[in-house]
């Protein structure tokens, strides 16, 4: 608590200066990530992230957008502690992330459920790994499954569920763990069809609102980004760095099904698209692993 609020880094929003106690939940300070790969033509050294400064506010919904291969997913992996920064610091609640960040929940594009576990057991696994007693974890898991309409499917295996249901399970299993205050979502709705996508966006907002959880979300889809986010960070093409951070002043609760008609939508969409188009049209992007 005595730690001074880190205020030196840049977030290019025009909002009021943060009060002293509102330190960021997640923070990247001058982060570089360099990958060294070995191909047929010998070693290749590639900068994925260049001097990234980004602060994620407690309880906010922040989305990262950018051309493919710009390092958005790498940024999430850094927040999850799955990979280490080549330079700079990544902090969670003001402390540098060392090793795996088990206070983050990680939702990927593939649902990554354990195929040999039933729906219920899949939701329980995070609690099981943290030693929560059986009765308590069952109770919590069932409550969350009911919230997303999966009551009656507790004992189904993943291959017996639809894509949307599997995605619900993979989201809910991160929320069920109270020690997780940050959910990292890497294009979670990418593989879903358009209708299911909208339904799940709506459900995600309902699960998030009032939960106090912070979400960092990666997507290619600007409309999705606007529908969900408080703020949107635009990455440049690789090597990725933050080009712009824009507020989404559309009031909540939001209607994701009619988000185009929401007052303020166009005012956010157009500049956002201009930011992104500039990055996409800067010639062919280099391939990134």
């Amino acid at each position: 608590m005595s730690r001074p609020a880190p205020g030196t880094h840049v977030t290019t929003t025009g909002s009021a200066p943060a009060p002293a106690e509102s330190a960021f939940v997640l923070e990247a300070r001058g982060v570089y990530k360099v990958f060294v790969t070995r191909g047929r033509a010998g070693r290749r050294v590639m900068t994925a992230l260049r001097d990234v400064n980004l602060g994620v506010r407690p309880g906010e919904f922040l989305t990262l957008v950018g051309p493919s291969g710009c390092g958005k997913s790498t940024m999430l992996n850094l927040f999850a502690g799955l990979t280490e920064a080549s330079d700079g610091t990544v902090l969670h609640d003001g402390r540098p992330i060392r090793g795996i960040n088990t206070r983050g929940g990680y939702v990927t594009q593939d649902d990554n459920l354990l195929p040999w576990r039933t729906t219920l057991a899949n939701v329980e696994i995070a609690l099981e790994l943290k030693g929560v007693p059986r009765v308590e974890r069952r109770h919590k898991a069932l409550a969350y499954l009911e919230r997303v309409g999966l009551k009656g499917f507790e004992h189904h295996y993943p291959h017996e569920l639809s894509g949307g249901m599997r995605k619900r399970v993979s989201i809910v299993r991160t929320l069920v763990d109270d020690s997780v205050n940050v959910i990292l979502m890497d294009e979670p709705f990418g593989p879903l069809d358009a209708q299911t996508r909208l339904v799940l966006q709506d459900e995600l907002l309902q699960l998030w609102q009032g939960s106090g959880r912070t979400i960092v979300f990666v997507t290619h889809d600007l409309v999705e980004a606007i529908a969900l986010s408080d703020r949107i960070a635009v990455f440049t093409r690789a090597p990725g760095t933050i080009k712009e951070i824009r507020d989404v002043p559309i009031r909540r609760p939001r209607d994701v099904f009619h988000i185009h008609e929401a007052p303020g939508f166009v005012e956010v969409y157009d500049p956002l698209w201009n930011d992104l188009r500039a990055e996409i049209s800067r010639g062919p992007e280099p391939s990134v692993g």
Binding site: T108, D110, L114, W116, A126, L129, P158
Partner: protein, 290 residues
């Protein structure tokens, strides 16, 4: 909560005409499926009868009866060795060798694969050695086994075990390697230690491969035992076959083979049952061998 899995046959809430159409379509589909099954069974019976009839016809006319025997004599010979207890006397030894060799080979193959996987760098280091050993024709080792371990049960068990070991080892290694990095990462972020990742993700993920290895090595274990019996023994179905063959009693040879065939089929059915009970999460088609 958009899409729901709705099962067709439990939905009775439809009005008259639609209900009629649904009933008709369901009945049609069922009839078609039944016809298809009947056709398959008819073909199977036809092929088997043709084979047996051809055999029976050729025997004594085209090919000397001494070499080929015929289905009827074989059935008689089989019945005789069943009734006089000689089949069971010999089968007991063969079964014991096969079973012990199978269990020994499968468990050591599984443990060795897990060990190789856990120790960092062990897999690439061991690879050439394993491939070399795998490429060695194990049958050629049989005389050595007899030389080392005598003519008792031990060389048969060991040869059967070597037939099983490599397949289970390589299958398990392949299965352990199929785990998705994304799945492992998700579970690590949930707080799984390396040991928990192995126990809760890597190993269960490999189980279908392990079970496939266990299934295809059943006949292999039997082959190992029989081959060792051929070379040197005074009991076992391999001995029974060998002895009958050296006295030109072809029907008895086939009767022995028939006995082995029944054993393999029974063991296969056992593993299938085990598989359904063990891996209920694997979406499965019906296997051609049940």
């Amino acid at each position: 909560m958009a899409e729901r899995v709705r099962s067709v046959e439990t939905d009775d809430s439809v009005p008259g005409r639609e209900a009629e159409v649904r009933r008709r379509e369901a009945a049609n589909t069922e009839r078609q499926e039944r016809n298809r099954r009947t056709t398959v069974v008819a073909w199977q019976i036809l092929l088997l009868s043709a084979l047996l009839a051809g055999w029976w016809g050729a025997s004594g006319r085209i090919v000397d009866r001494l070499f080929l025997s015929d289905p009827v004599s074989i059935a008689r010979a089989f019945w005789r060795i069943v009734v006089d207890g000689s089949l069971w006397f010999h089968l007991r030894y063969t079964l014991a060798e096969t079973f012990l060799g199978y269990v020994l080979g499968a468990s050591s193959g599984l443990l060795a694969a897990v060990g190789t996987w856990i120790v960092p760098g062990a897999a690439p280091a061991l690879r050439p050695l394993i491939l070399l050993a795998y490429a060695t024709p194990k049958i050629a080792l049989a005389p050595l086994m007899i030389l080392w371990f005598g003519i008792g049960i031990v060389p048969k068990v060991i040869l059967a075990a070597t037939f099983v070991f490599f397949v289970v080892y390589l299958n398990t290694m392949a299965g352990l390697g199929t785990v998705s990095g994304g799945l492992v990462n998700v579970v690590r972020v949930m707080g799984a230690t390396p040991a928990a990742v192995f126990r809760k993700v890597v190993l269960p993920n490999a189980m279908p491969f392990v079970v496939a290895g266990l299934r295809i090595t059943i006949p292999a274990a039997l082959i190992g035992a029989i081959v060792a019996e051929f070379i040197s023994s005074n009991r076992g179905v391999g001995y029974l076959i060998n002895a009958a063959s050296s006295r030109y009693r072809t029907a008895d040879v086939f009767a022995g083979i028939l006995g082995l065939l029944i054993v393999v089929l029974a063991m296969n059915a056992g593993v299938s049952a085990l598989e359904r009970w063990w891996l209920p999460w694997v979406p499965r088609e019906r296997s051609p061998l049940g």
